[in-house]
């Protein structure tokens, strides 16, 4: 009796899960396998012209990739973007969430909407505005720096400054999302624990470190995982701000893949890049979840 109920429930569960599993198989597993298959061929524009030009090349694309200086450059740029961008974005989100959480702040909904707005605004429109802000001669940022005696910086034209400039733009664009997530998590921090800590003489930093942080730990981990995956796939921002320039200083792995694949139709090579990126993100996420487990956030 209980066995058949259990079986029935199990069947119902599979039926409910089947559509989602089907969609995942169709839009995730199948394309991944096809990309993997493509990455061991030399599919190029010549194969588009004539299928008989297609050959199996094994790991040739991967070997070529490792010998391509621009790929290493793209990998390095992406690492810089992620290494600086994730702490910048999460730090800004957390800082603003903490500020807005304070009881003395008034008109909280207004602030939340204002700070969340960049996240839902079109990237091309915001990029146009930011290109004006970052303009060397007439930009707002250089004007502000000039007020404190800093010489004008060629933000988008100097290969040394292009990554920081784009990071500034990306951080401004994305921090609102995690800010809302953190706001929700902070609301769940038990008030009596805070009260108790304060009575025990804990300062603001100690309370943050030992009460707030453990309570929002799981949320922080989730934000970190999503941000790292997001920054490793950075594409649209350099595409609209600099087209990968100057001197290819803002070419990311995904940008490199887009150029190889869609601009020049070297889809074999581009699939190899996609696969490398997939393994990279998977690896980083595994490390993050391991760290999360150690702190019992999972």
């Amino acid at each position: 009796m209980t066995g058949s109920v259990h079986r029935r429930q199990q069947r119902a569960a599979w039926i409910f899960a089947a559509p989602v599993l089907g969609i995942i198989a169709l839009v995730f597993v199948l394309p991944t396998l096809l990309a993997l298959a493509l990455s061991v061929t030399d599919y190029s524009i010549y194969a588009l012209a004539d299928w008989s030009n297609l050959r199996f090349v094994g790991f040739g694309n991967f070997a070529d990739l490792l010998a391509t200086p621009l790929f290493w450059r793209a990998l390095r740029n992406t690492a810089i973007f992620a290494g600086l961008g994730v702490p910048m974005a999460i730090g800004t989100s957390l800082a603003t969430a903490l500020l807005l959480h304070d009881a003395t702040v008034r008109w909280k909904p207004v602030w939340r909407v204002a700070l969340f707005a960049p996240y839902v605004t079109g990237i091309v429109a915001t990029a146009v505005v930011w290109r004006f802000v970052l303009n060397t001669r007439f930009g707002l940022l250089n004007w502000a720096l000039a007020q404190v005696g800093v010489a004008p910086v060629d933000w988008l034209g100097d290969p040394r400054w292009s990554i920081p400039a784009i990071l500034l733009f990306v951080t401004w664009k994305v921090f609102g999302y995690n800010m809302i997530v953190f706001t929700a998590a902070l609301a769940a921090v038990p008030g009596e624990l805070m009260e108790a800590a304060r009575l025990d003489g804990a300062g603001a930093w100690t309370r943050f470190r030992h009460v707030t942080l453990p309570a929002i730990g799981p949320t922080l981990l989730l934000a970190a995982v999503m941000s790292v995956a997001g920054f490793l796939q950075l594409f649209a921002e350099p595409y609209v701000m600099t087209l990968g320039g100057p001197s290819q200083s803002t070419v990311t792995v995904l940008y490199f893949m887009f150029d190889e694949g869609f601009k020049w139709w070297n889809l074999g090579q581009a699939s190899a890049v996609a696969f490398v990126l997939f393994v990279l993100i998977l690896g980083v996420t595994l490390v993050q979840t391991r760290i999360g487990r150690r702190y019992e956030w999972l």
Binding site: D42, T242, L243, G245, K263
Partner: protein, 427 residues
């Protein structure tokens, strides 16, 4: 669960859900309609001003034939991938504008149809048909020719003793030095570091051809190419030209009007902008001249455009009729008045509207285009070469390291072509 099926709240909710679903479906249907109003219409894609203004030419075609035309303007920086993915996805428009350098590539992949009538390929300038011909068969009709010329500020050059733009490299450097001395915070020349045409012009002037061994290897480490790159780099190194990309000077015409630079290599559409914005820069303050060469004018880079018809169009007869209409002398002259693009049809040049002295340098230059390779990789090669040139200008590489890097990159790009040529699969 079943017991709650009659719960009125659920019913109301499901009604709302149905309503929302219906609205979404209606919205989708509307956007579907917006994308393509009319299944009877021919489709046309173009880039730049030509794409923006093509509805004006299409209107006359619709009036004459009753066939509606839907046009779409693509951004030039994304057009190549848009056309490629459209071909792979079977959604190319019936008729399209292609920069001449892309025609052989799209002919090779079978995206564009050969001309049905050889007469369409006559009546044009020397060398214009060469890149439009694949395997000996013309695949596109020439539409506009845009040789590079120099636009110069008469008043600024007058300040340093020139009444017209210099036509030699030494003259350019002399103007650069004198203007820089007079206005240290300004520049003499504007050449965007992410645009390839000026370096290609200099190479053409110096008599360098970029490839060797049946276009399967780079030939940048030859003395003539070195001479061109050295001259190009010196203009930046000596401070005559600012090291900027096109996204840094968003409005080059305003900068030209303000005297930020006095010499500006560009194409014919700049004429239109200059006429339109005469309030910012009066017509007597600027002029046009042929690009300078080591010993006077020579071969220069040109941005020529052509009209091709998709190989898979279901209505080839109407598509070719539209292509003929767009490339007729009358249409080309209308476009010249509207957006300044210059007719590719030689017979159109007898029209008095092309007698303007400002157009004389273009007319003279048309007969001498730079000799460039016609291979599918060329589009990529010219971008990659410019990227290396940019690194040399910015000080990342010396000139000789830059030339070696150009050869290495180009040889890597041409690896597949080398194999296919060696195997005798392509000519």
């Amino acid at each position: 669960m079943g017991g709650r099926a009659h719960d009125p709240r659920t019913t109301r909710r499901s009604l709302i859900a149905m309503g929302a679903g219906g609205l979404t479906a209606a919205a989708l249907a509307t956007t579907g309609c917006l994308r393509r109003h009319d299944p009877a219409a021919l489709t046309f894609w173009g880039t730049g001003y030509e794409g923006d203004y093509s509805p004006h030419l299409a209107a006359a075609f619709t009036t004459a034939t009753g066939i509606p035309v839907e046009t779409q303007s693509l951004p030039g920086t994304a057009a190549h991938e848009k056309f490629l993915t459209a071909h792979a996805g079977g959604s190319l428009p019936d008729v399209m504008m292609l920069p001449s350098g892309w025609v052989a590539e799209f002919a090779m992949i079978g995206a564009v149809a050969p001309l049905p009538d050889p007469a369409l390929a006559t009546d044009t300038f020397h060398g214009v048909m060469r890149p439009l011909t694949f395997a000996g068969v013309p695949h596109a009709i020439p539409w506009s020719v845009g040789s590079q010329v120099q636009f110069y500020r008469r008043d600024l050059l007058g300040e340093v003793g020139y009444d017209a733009a210099p036509l030699t490299w030494d003259g350019w450097r002399d103007v650069g030095a004198k203007l820089k001395r007079r206005h240290p915070d300004r520049f003499a020349i504007l050449m965007f570091l992410n645009w390839w045409d000026t370096l290609i012009t200099f190479a053409g002037q110096a008599g360098a051809y970029p490839l060797r061994d049946r276009d399967t290897r780079g030939d940048f480490r030859n003395p003539r190419y070195r001479e061109a790159l050295a001259f190009y780099v010196s203009l930046f190194a000596d401070g005559y030209a600012p090291g900027v990309s096109s996204n840094e000077i968003q409005d080059p015409l305003a900068a030209f009007a303000q005297g930020y630079f006095a010499l500006y290599p560009s194409g014919p559409t700049l004429l239109t902008d200059l006429h339109r914005r005469a309030a910012e820069i009066a017509p007597d303050r600027w002029g046009t001249a042929r690009m300078p060469g080591p010993n006077g004018p020579g071969r220069v880079s040109a941005i020529n455009n052509s009209i091709a018809v998709s190989a898979t169009t279901p209505r080839p007869r109407e598509a070719w009729a539209l292509a003929r209409h767009l490339t007729s002398a009358a249409s080309e002259l209308t476009f010249q008045r509207m957006i300044g693009s210059l007719p590719a049809r030689r017979s159109a040049w007898t029209s008095p509207q092309l007698a303007d002295p400002l157009l004389r340098p273009f007319a003279a230059q048309m007969e001498l285009p730079a000799e460039l390779p016609i291979i599918v990789e060329w589009e990529r090669i010219r971008l990659e070469v410019q990227i290396v040139a940019e690194r040399v200008v910015r000080g990342g590489l010396t000139i000789d390291e830059g030339l070696a890097a150009m050869d290495a990159r180009v040889d890597a790009i041409l690896a597949r072509r080398r194999e296919l040529v060696a195997a005798g699969r392509i000519a």
